[in-house]
């Protein structure tokens, strides 16, 4: 038997203090945790995924409307300066622009409001699934504490796990919403939809969507993570499953 008995870890009558683990280790463990519970994690993430898809599609149609407006205004200006002879199509577009400006703005605002409500509902959903995940893993959490995990480590574990999920889900959600609306506009407006500041607007919306999605998931995890950290280590000894 070659296990070193040389040093027991500390002298009698004294005790050390547990060290903080590097973040890298926590990320590694969280990542594995998501991987093994992949489908369950996906369901947790689905809420934020759909919420962000809805949000980004609403915002993106707003952006397309802006691009179209800018395009029509340009035509109008050109006509007024006499640089362009108005075609029938041009007249129709200009009439469209002036006709229902206010109404369209109102409906856009309504949709945005709806999508924000949707995101809030998703946040509650994530809190719920993370709470379930804590309950499901009480034994695992208790065991980790028995092995020397500090409360702060458990908190980190849950935050990293959910934030990672939130990040990926909102990125994918953005891509879905953005693609759907882009395809629709490609058919309704044609290539002019992708002129103007289309790419710049898309990039800004992507950053916004990912930021909102990640932030909401983070907020949704505060309560479950604290609950997990407060789990007594003796939970590991409970026998019932």
């Amino acid at each position: 038997m070659s296990v070193d008995q040389a040093q027991r870890t500390h002298p009698r009558g004294s005790i050390g203090r547990q060290i903080q683990l590097p973040l890298k280790k926590a990320i590694e463990i969280s990542f594995k945790s998501i991987k093994i519970r992949f489908w369950r994690s996906m369901i947790t993430a689905m809420g934020i995924f759909l919420g962000i898809a809805f949000f980004s599609s609403v915002r993106m149609s707003g952006e397309f409307a802006n691009i179209q407006r800018a395009y029509i205004l340009q035509i109008k200006e050109d006509i007024e300066k006499g640089l362009r002879t108005p075609s029938i199509e041009d007249t129709r577009l200009i009439a469209l622009l002036e006709e229902n400006q206010e109404e369209r703005q109102a409906s856009e605002n309504r949709m945005l409001w709806l999508s924000i409500m949707g995101l809030l509902v998703c946040t509650v959903g994530i809190t719920n699934s993370m709470l379930m995940s804590v309950t499901e893993r009480y034994k695992e959490i208790g065991t980790m504490k028995c092995l020397g995990a500090l409360d702060s480590f458990i908190v980190k574990l849950f935050f990293i796990e959910s934030t990672l999920l939130g990040f990926i889900a909102s990125l994918l959600g953005f891509i879905l919403g953005w693609m759907l609306i882009s395809i629709i506009n490609l058919f309704t407006q044609g290539v002019i939809a992708f002129g103007g500041n289309f790419w710049w607007a898309s990039l800004k919306l992507m950053l916004l969507s990912v930021f909102i999605g990640t932030l909401l998931t983070f907020l949704a995890t505060i309560f479950p993570a604290i609950r997990a950290a407060k789990m007594p280590p003796s939970a590991a000894l409970r026998v019932e499953i």
Binding site: R12, Q18, E140, T143, M144, K145, C146, L147, S234, A236
Partner: protein, 248 residues
Amino acid sequence: MASQYIVRTKGLIKEYTMGDQTVRALNGVDLDIYEGEYISIMGPSGSGKSTLFNAIGGLDRPTSGSVFINDVDMAQLDAQELAYLRCHTIGYIFQTFNLIPVMTALENVTLPTVFAGMPTDDGIERGIELLNIVGLGERLHHKPSELSGGQQQRVAIARSLANNPSIILADEPTGNLDLKTGTEIIELLKRLNKEQGVTIISATHDLKMLDVSDRIVYIRDGKIAKIDERKDLDIQIGEMEREGELGH
């Protein structure tokens, strides 16, 4: 004064409040455990056995009285010191094995070394060594779900030894195992006790455990009913078996 005792409890009392009633799970337990001892705590469900076990393991704070581990009063420790104690001084073995399902056998055994801040390579080396000792050198990269109950408990034993603890606390280590596997686990624990000098404290119902124990502590109604020494045991075995049956 440095004592030969590794664990001492003094006047240990633990009360639980259930509704408006106060239940006393431990009612003044004084127990001294020697370094290198193999000790079994026996008692029926509800005797206070688990409560005593939790108190010794630093998993639960007693209402009054104290637990000393290596002459350190556990009541004086803050959260970080308690975590250090659980990480370095005590190794835990559970009835339900409690391996982390997302990790392989080796990763499970390495986890306590991670918490102890050991460099990764050293931890892996230590993990392989321990898994070889418990006879699972061939199954390093299996997940718990791919191992039998006995094998999982072996991994758990290897894990409990990861940071070279002076005490192993085993809560019904054979409770979820069949007769033959249970015997193997008990033999393994005894071997580690002899070869590595680690103190083993085990809460158990299992009569097979008595054969290897140096002392057996019987808990009844939150008190120590009696303590049997190994050397007196052989003559009493019939009596004990009766008690064990009554206890179930």
